[in-house]
């Protein structure tokens, strides 16, 4: 699938086929994509635990369910739990930055050297950063970028994916994660039981409300020609419509199939 179509087809899937297993290689591809994501100072805060639902005990599965995500967790055959390993920066002490210097990703042309990393970047920037109460915010953003690449790769592999936030304390206990890992979100993975369109692309605020040029208040102009081009590339697709009879019929059928309340 072309990249733009992958972006266009992604939906948060909430009806997974509970009985259709996901191939391990597809999960690996999602993780491989995450591993290649952009990451500040090449620290690699991301950590993930893949959990195959049917390998969990009944008690574990029950504890993972939250009021909002219980059904999704039950339906999805695979759960990928993501964490931010806050300890990594002080463990590697700039060594991965020096790897970037060695491979020419960071070069003297831009002021980089091993000495700069050892004398300034780690002791004066990175180490103090880890002591700042706001430290988890930017590092979590980088894990989010990795998760996004995993999500899109899942879509490219024909899977349904959806993000949920589970109880962090439960995740840490069930999966025995190190204390310094912060639990983030979980990607639920499975084959969609609903159509891949799932009613259409979700409502979004107008482009001009989100993006600006030069300064806040001056919207970045949206060129209709570009919009048409992206429609042709299937990145911008049919939007979901309120009270769409086709979608209502689909949800009713799913509710009947799985015995869900309406």
């Amino acid at each position: 699938m072309e990249y733009k179509e992958v972006v266009g087809r992604r939906r948060s899937i909430r009806f997974f086929d509970p009985d259709r297993p996901v191939e391990r290689e597809k999960i690996q591809k999602m993780l491989e994509a995450a591993r290649l994501a952009s990451c500040a100072v090449n620290a690699q805060w991301q950590r993930a635990i893949v959990s195959f639902r049917d390998d969990l005990t009944e008690d574990q599965l029950s504890r993972l369910k939250t009021p909002v995500a219980a059904l999704n967790v039950e339906l999805a055959p695979v759960h990928i739990h993501w964490f931010n390993d806050l300890s990594i920066v002080n463990k590697i002490q700039g060594s991965r930055l020096k790897e970037l210097v060695d491979v020419g990703a960071l070069a003297p042309t831009h002021g980089w050297s091993h000495k700069f990393v050892d004398d300034f970047v780690y002791p004066q920037i990175l180490k103090p950063m880890t002591q700042n109460p706001g430290y988890p915010v930017p590092s979590t953003m980088d894990v989010g970028i990795a998760m996004c690449q995993a999500l899109l790769t899942g879509v490219d592999e024909g899977l349904g994916v959806g993000l949920v936030t589970l109880n962090g304390a439960v995740l840490k206990e069930v999966f025995k994660v190190p204390e310094e890992w912060i639990p983030l979100s979980t990607i639920l993975v499975g084959y969609p039981a609903e159509s891949w369109e799932a009613g259409g692309q979700r409502p979004r605020p107008p482009f001009e409300e989100l993006y600006f040029e030069g300064a806040y208040g001056k919207p970045f102009p949206r060129d209709p020609k570009v919009v048409e081009e992206l429609k042709a590339a299937k990145m911008i697709q049919e939007p979901a419509k309120p009270n769409d009879p086709k979608r209502i019929a689909e949800i009713k059928a799913l509710a009947e199939k799985y015995g869900l309340p309406m």
Partner: protein
């Protein structure tokens, strides 16, 4: 789960449509799914009434026990929701008939709570 206050007198129920929470439920069903929820499923209101007798509460009392107003905002009472989730599960298990019928009855009551703003998930019932 046992019902609190087992010594209570049996609840005196008025016609289901007299209760504001039941009207809210039917309005929600109508808005979301269309049709006429008061008549399109003849079992809907009797099922809720049967559950009310089992729980010994009227519909408005059930919503009152599962929600509250805190700092001016409506909130879900976690304990109340858990209590009713368990009550529905227990009641559903005792419904006579097939698994589909049991699920339908349980889900009818869950739907009543859901359309009154009390998020409740039951899991797959088939």
């Amino acid at each position: 789960m046992t019902i609190d206050a087992a010594e209570e007198q049996p609840v005196a129920l008025r016609p289901m449509l007299d209760y504001a929470s039941v009207r809210t439920w039917l309005d929600g069903l109508r808005q979301h799914w269309g049709g006429d929820p008061a008549t399109d499923d003849p079992e809907r209101l009797p099922v809720l009434e049967a559950f009310c007798r089992y729980a010994n509460r009227d519909p408005d009392q059930i919503i009152k026990e599962t929600t509250m107003i805190k700092d001016g905002d409506k909130r879900i009472r976690i304990k109340g929701r858990n209590k009713y989730a368990a009550l529905i599960d227990g009641w559903q298990a005792g419904v006579e008939g097939s698994r589909i019928r049991k699920a339908k009855w349980g889900n009818t009551v869950r739907s009543f709570l859901i359309h009154n703003g009390v998020l409740l998930q039951s899991g797959v019932q088939t």
